[in-house]
């Protein structure tokens, strides 16, 4: 168990590789109740959500969700989040646990609209059921037709006889669902999902497998790929920035970056030499320091050592020979296309 921002959380249950493979081939479950939830309500809830996030909230239909960014006025990340449109006057944000209070203060500080912001993390537990058998597992516990929920859509229904928000979302690169329930129901729900998934050999999964899965899918982790010093363009997340939607916090510097370009950019790599380029390790080009690793790990699915790093933009493209300083020794690697893993649809 590790202390994770005040939450006592398992890094692994049966082993990272075993848990990882369960999600890729069958089904695994993560207790992600540490994730934060923030609710925006009121007649101008949509305006606040639009103003405080980078993606185009007006494009969301009721029951739809998208990935987005909360930025500081200087264009760096406050957090990366999921925005769910519950109703025209109600948006539900899923945010990173350790950023929850900061996010809440940030959103409240820019709220000049007729809307209320609630820090609602204590009202929700969250279970992520992920993998090709996730739907078959969860379907046993709910009358909601899960096949009818499109990817990145959600529905409010019942799981195991109690109210649940069932979202067809995930952080693994695999098909799956994230369900939000009252904290008092979490333990019972966990046990029921484990029983329902037993025929598919469901595995409980910890933070370790969550990290290897998201890395293979090249999903950002706050504090690694993104933080207050990194802009969405640098993080290769231009697709969540809608500069033409109107004003939003952080838009001005991003407009300038779009004109002038960015100096560094996130790119994937594979180790060629023996070793694992891990977070914080120096990346060299032609023997000179040029960037740093944000995340690195063995990839259980690909059986390679993979990672993400920042490099000067001219070199942040596939096929560049780089060296990573591993325990004071340069070890060869090459930049590659991402995501490292993409599931067959």
């Amino acid at each position: 168990m590790v202390d994770f921002g005040g939450w006592d959380m398992p890094v692994q249950y049966s082993g990272i590789i075993e848990e990882h493979n369960a999600v890729r081939t069958a089904v695994g479950m993560f207790d992600v109740s540490h994730m934060g939830e923030i609710e925006i309500r009121g007649p101008e809830a949509a305006q606040l959500a639009e103003f405080v996030t980078t993606n185009h909230v007006a494009k969301l239909k009721i029951g739809q969700a998208h990935y987005s960014g909360l930025l500081y006025p200087h264009g760096g990340f406050v957090d990366d989040i999921l925005v769910h449109k519950v109703a025209d006057d109600h948006y539900f944000l899923c945010v990173n646990a350790s950023n929850q209070d900061k996010d809440f203060e940030h959103i409240r500080s820019v709220n000049r609209f007729d809307s209320q912001v609630e820090n609602a993390g204590d009202r929700y537990a969250q279970l992520a059921i992920q993998g090709p058998r996730a739907r078959a597992t969860l379907q046993k516990l709910t009358p909601v037709d899960l096949a009818a929920i499109r990817y990145y859509w959600f529905t409010d229904g019942e799981v195991a006889g109690v109210p649940a928000r069932i979202a067809h979302t995930g952080y693994t690169g695999e098909d799956g669902f994230e369900i939000y329930v009252a904290p008092g129901e979490a333990q019972r729900m966990w046990n029921l999902v484990m029983e329902a998934g037993a025929e598919f050999c469901i595995k409980p999964c910890g933070l370790g497998a969550r990290n290897t899965l998201r890395l293979e899918a090249k999903m950002a982790l706050y504090g690694h790929e993104i933080d207050a010093s990194i802009s969405p363009f640098e993080a290769d997340l231009a697709w969540i920035v809608k500069l033409d939607k109107g004003d939003f916090v952080g838009r001005e510097p991003l407009l300038r970056q779009r004109e002038a370009g960015v100096r560094r950019k996130l790119v994937g790599f594979e180790m060629r030499g023996r070793g694992i380029g891990r977070e914080g390790y120096e990346v060299r080009l032609d023997g000179a320091p040029a960037g740093w690793v944000t995340s690195g790990s063995p990839s259980p699915t690909l059986n390679k050592n993979i990672g993400l790093c920042y490099l000067p933009v001219a070199h942040a493209r596939p096929g560049e020979a780089i060296e990573i300083m591993i325990r004071n020794q340069p070890v060869g690697a090459v930049t590659v296309e991402t995501p490292f893993y993409k599931r067959a649809k």
């Binding site: 890094v11 692994q12 082993g15 990272i16 590789i17 370790g208 694992i276 891990r278 790990s297």
Partner: protein, 127 residues
Amino acid sequence: MYPENFRYTKEHEWVLVEGDTGTIGITDHAQEELGDIVYVDLPKVGTHVDQGKSLGSVESVKAVSDVYSPVSGEIIDANPALADAPEKLNADPHGAAWLVKIRLSAPAEVENLMTASDYQTYIGAEK
């Protein structure tokens, strides 16, 4: 679980002293905490190591960790089986997956180390 004839460190290494030779490994608790081990880096034969100093590293999917020598001396053997099969360290950390053998230069150092029952109390308290 924890052999009575081993001595243990707070950093979760063990040493088995036989005559002037010590066999060194990491504990079952260590391998369990590390999880799936993917690399083991050991020193060359002939290297001198000091008690409490790094003699190599063990890397799992999760993280890389130094291995600290429980005793001082000269490396006289490094387990050749671990280069190609590091996962053995998860399976048999107190047996076939020993790391190095060392010729003790200061045998009295062993007195600083924990007994099996001390170590089990120690990891019990750490949890």
